[in-house]
């Protein structure tokens, strides 16, 4: 297959998803979890099933700043609210009064300053990872261009991942927590994992990539050699993560979803974005030199 000749298709696809991601981020923004904003999360099981909408209305009569009531796939209910221990008691008492038997199965509460600190640290971790990988790829391939395009593909993946969570947050109330940051960082490394292997094949075709006459042919052969591997490897990760997504509990469900989206994007961007971008850049550079 001639990936390089038809690279404009992948540029259009990537461009579309990037714009969609940025628009969703601007329009809806991410929904930060209590890990970042502070507040509480209470998970309870009830003896009888109730409508979560109804539960929300019942609880909002109390003097508690309620933010969300959700029913989980396991049939328990997650109540999110501001404040801590005092409000938890109020809510538990109210549910017990209106719906008799109630059992607390999980309670998480984070102070507001604690949350802001985590956000700052998470951003520091993301930036440090990007520079660490940029430095390593540049060093391994002895060429800054390889490093830059690996990182660009990585940023592309992460932006679309963030955008998809902006949409998930808006339509399904999914929030972004500390584990999401972990998934984003893992996406960074998984994305570059495939890119490095593809670059490695490009390099093996010729040790002097920048002096090669026909870079398009060289790059295209590398892509054809690696595409089966990249896709097959993605399958194995997709199998494992889909199993977690479908069967894992509420805590890791969206974490697995983030990892899944990240893995798929990582595979796509290595073949369809990083190398085509590298070729385009080389062409521009050579034309200028002439």
């Amino acid at each position: 297959m001639n990936f390089i000749k038809y690279r404009w298709i992948s540029f259009i696809v990537s461009g579309f998803f990037l714009i969609a991601a940025i628009v969703s981020l601007i329009l809806f923004g991410l929904k930060p979890a209590i890990d970042f904003t502070g507040g509480s999360l209470l998970e309870v099981t009830l003896s009888k099933a109730v409508d979560s909408e109804k539960l929300y209305q019942t609880l909002s009569k109390e003097s508690v700043a309620l933010s969300q009531v959700q029913q989980t796939s396991q049939g328990s209910y997650i109540v999110r609210f501001m404040g801590g221990e005092e409000n938890k008691k109020l809510i538990l008492d109210k549910i017990a009064k209106d719906y008799d038997e109630v059992k607390m199965v999980r309670f998480e509460s984070v102070g507001p300053t604690f949350g802001r600190e985590l956000l700052r640290k998470a951003i520091a971790a993301l930036i440090l990872t990007v520079f660490g990988i940029l430095a390593y790829v540049t060093w391994r391939f002895g060429n800054l261009e390889f490093g830059v395009f690996a990182v660009l593909a990585m940023i592309h993946d992460n932006l679309i991942l963030l955008g998809s969570f902006a949409l998930l947050g808006h339509f399904f109330g999914v929030s972004v927590d500390a584990l999401f940051i972990t998934a984003a960082l893992t996406t960074l490394s998984a994305s570059v994992h495939d890119t490095v292997i593809t670059f490695d094949y490009v390099r093996k075709q010729s040790h002097h990539f920048s002096h090669q006459k026909n870079i398009e042919a060289v790059a295209n052969k590398a892509l054809n050699d690696t595409v089966v591997r990249n896709v097959n490897n993605s399958w194995t990760i997709i199998f494992m993560l889909t199993a977690v997504l479908l069967m894992g509990g509420e805590t890791v469900k969206w974490f697995a979803a983030a990892l899944l989206i990240g893995s798929i994007l990582g595979t796509y961007s290595s073949t369809f974005l990083a190398v085509p971008l590298l070729v385009t850049w080389e062409n521009i550079r050579r034309r200028r030199e002439k």
């Binding site: 801590g84 221990e85 059992k103 607390m104 199965v105 999980r106 309670f107 998480e108 509460s109 984070v110 102070g111 300053t113 604690f114 985590l118 640290k121 998470a122 520091a124 971790a125 440090l128 990872t129 660490g132 990988i133 390593y136 391994r140 500390a178 584990l179 940051i181 972990t182 960082l185 893992t186 960074l188 490394s189 998984a190 994992h193 495939d194 490095v196 292997i197 490695d200 094949y201 050699d225 690696t226 591997r229 097959n232 490897n233 399958w235 194995t236 990760i237 199998f239 494992m240 993560l241 889909t242 199993a243 977690v244 479908l246 069967m247 894992g248 509990g249 805590t251 890791v252 990892l259």
Partner: protein
């Protein structure tokens, strides 16, 4: 060939050792098959060996984090902005001793108290397995330390108890550890403030020869007897304690000198049944994912796939025995990290098999192609895994850099993913290669 055989024996040995470490002490079989009831119980002994004076146990329990086992994770914080470096360290040590003492009083087994300090604040992480009603524990742990000295109500009848002497932690300047110049025994020194000096002199004069007990949070800490009136504000508690005990007592006394108020900043409580269900669903998810990977590998690569699956199973066994051995406390994100690493562990084999196909297509003989494939795939595998290790390093944050996340969940994930990457380098390359060298043709 000789080297390959040796490697095979090594791999078999490691596999059986890992299998043994992972076996529980008891396996119960209780089910019915075609109307027949099967009910067996196997006991597997895990003896402790003693070698050159070292005790080597062969049973290592798998540690489960609070999100799987149930319990409370509490984080308290104290403002220490105005403290000097020395004061901060002292406060951290005292706080840890005092909180550990309160937690011990609460009677929770395997509880953990950790302190992390930076310029701005001091943070105390308390883990209470099995505790779900947290309000009481929070109140108990969160109270400000209260130290006071009490005198006997009636010397003749010790059961009468003690009454406040009016001397408190506020009168104390600090406590420390010293050694008796004559006997070399460790002892605890007390230094009073100028105000406290006079109070202490007066009280010791009154109770000379009697016990002046020291209470922390209304619980007795020490019962020293006043030998003679002390007027210089410097007291020494002698006793039959070793250095650690002396240090502990001094830290507890300092907790009353530098009363730091702490407040709860984070709390995560999980009920045990929710944790148990999470373990079950994760195990099921892992097995189904693994089956899908196995079907895919064998379907796509034929009998080569069997070698990949065999090394993947060995990978799982080694990984779990390391979790037990190190030990790694398994959390829900940690399990997710492991499951992800299984997906990544197959990667090395896919890369090698694709190379092998290429070499065969180029007309190489099978045995030559096999060796070339393993050799050439190594570079790519190494480079790709280094990038994962970079991310793992930042997430795990081994040097506790304060500008990076230090959350336990994030670390649990990073640890299992990192271990997975390292072990998969061994199983994906060495194990698969050895198996293929032995069990496929060499022409």
């Amino acid at each position: 060939m000789k080297k390959t055989k040796k490697l095979l024996f090594l791999i078999i040995a490691i596999t059986f050792l890992s299998l043994y470490i992972n076996l529980p002490n008891q396996i119960k079989l209780d089910f019915s098959l075609f109307g027949k009831v099967v009910n067996y119980q196997f006991n597997i002994s895990h003896p402790t060996f003693s070698l050159a004076g070292l005790e080597i146990p062969t049973y290592y329990p798998l540690r489960r984090g609070l999100d799987l086992a149930g319990g409370s994770h509490l984080v308290f914080q104290a403002e220490t902005k105005d403290f000097s470096v020395e004061e901060r360290e002292k406060a951290a040590e005292s706080l840890k001793e005092n909180i550990s003492r309160r937690v011990d009083m609460y009677g929770v087994s395997e509880s953990i108290v950790q302190v992390s300090e930076n310029k701005e604040n001091l943070r105390l992480i308390v883990e209470l397995p099995g505790i779900e009603e947290t309000q009481e524990a929070i109140d108990l742990i969160g109270q400000t330390a209260l130290l006071d000295f009490r005198r006997q109500i009636d010397e003749a009848t010790p059961s009468a108890g003690f009454e406040p002497s009016g001397l408190t932690g506020a009168d104390l300047k600090g406590a420390g550890v010293d050694f008796d110049p004559n006997t070399g025994q460790p002892e605890v020194t007390l230094q009073f403030t100028s105000q406290g000096k006079d109070k202490f002199a007066q009280i010791t004069e009154e109770v000379s020869g009697q016990i002046l007990a020291i209470f922390l949070d209304n619980i007795p800490l020490s019962f020293p007897r006043v030998q003679e009136p002390i007027r210089n504000g410097q007291a020494v508690i002698k006793g039959d304690f070793d250095l650690d005990q002396a240090k502990k007592l001094s830290a507890q006394l300092n907790a009353g000198v530098l009363p730091v108020s702490i407040k709860l900043v984070e709390q995560r409580t999980v009920e045990a049944t929710l944790g148990n269900r999470a373990v079950k669903t994760s195990v099921r998810a892992g097995l189904i994912g693994l089956a899908a990977v196995a079907i895919f590998m064998i379907g796509y690569y034929g009998y080569w796939g069997f070698f990949a699956i065999a090394s993947l199973l060995i990978y799982g066994l080694i990984t779990f025995s390391l979790y037990r051995f190190i030990p790694v406390t398994l959390t829900l994100p940690g399990i997710a990290g492991f499951i992800l690493s299984v997906g990544m562990a197959v990667d090395a084999n896919i890369l090698i098999f694709e190379r092998l196909k290429e070499e065969l297509a180029a007309g190489q003989a099978y045995a030559v192609a096999r060796e070339l494939a393993f050799g050439r795939a190594w570079d790519s595998i190494r480079d790709a895994n280094v990038c994962t290790i970079i991310a793992v390093f930042i997430l795990f944050n081994p040097f506790d850099w304060q500008f990076l996340p230090t959350a336990g969940m994030v670390r649990g994930f990073a640890l299992t993913l990192g271990l997975g990457v390292l072990i998969s380098l061994f199983t994906g390359i060495v194990v698969t290669r050895t198996l293929m060298r032995i069990f496929t043709k060499n022409k």
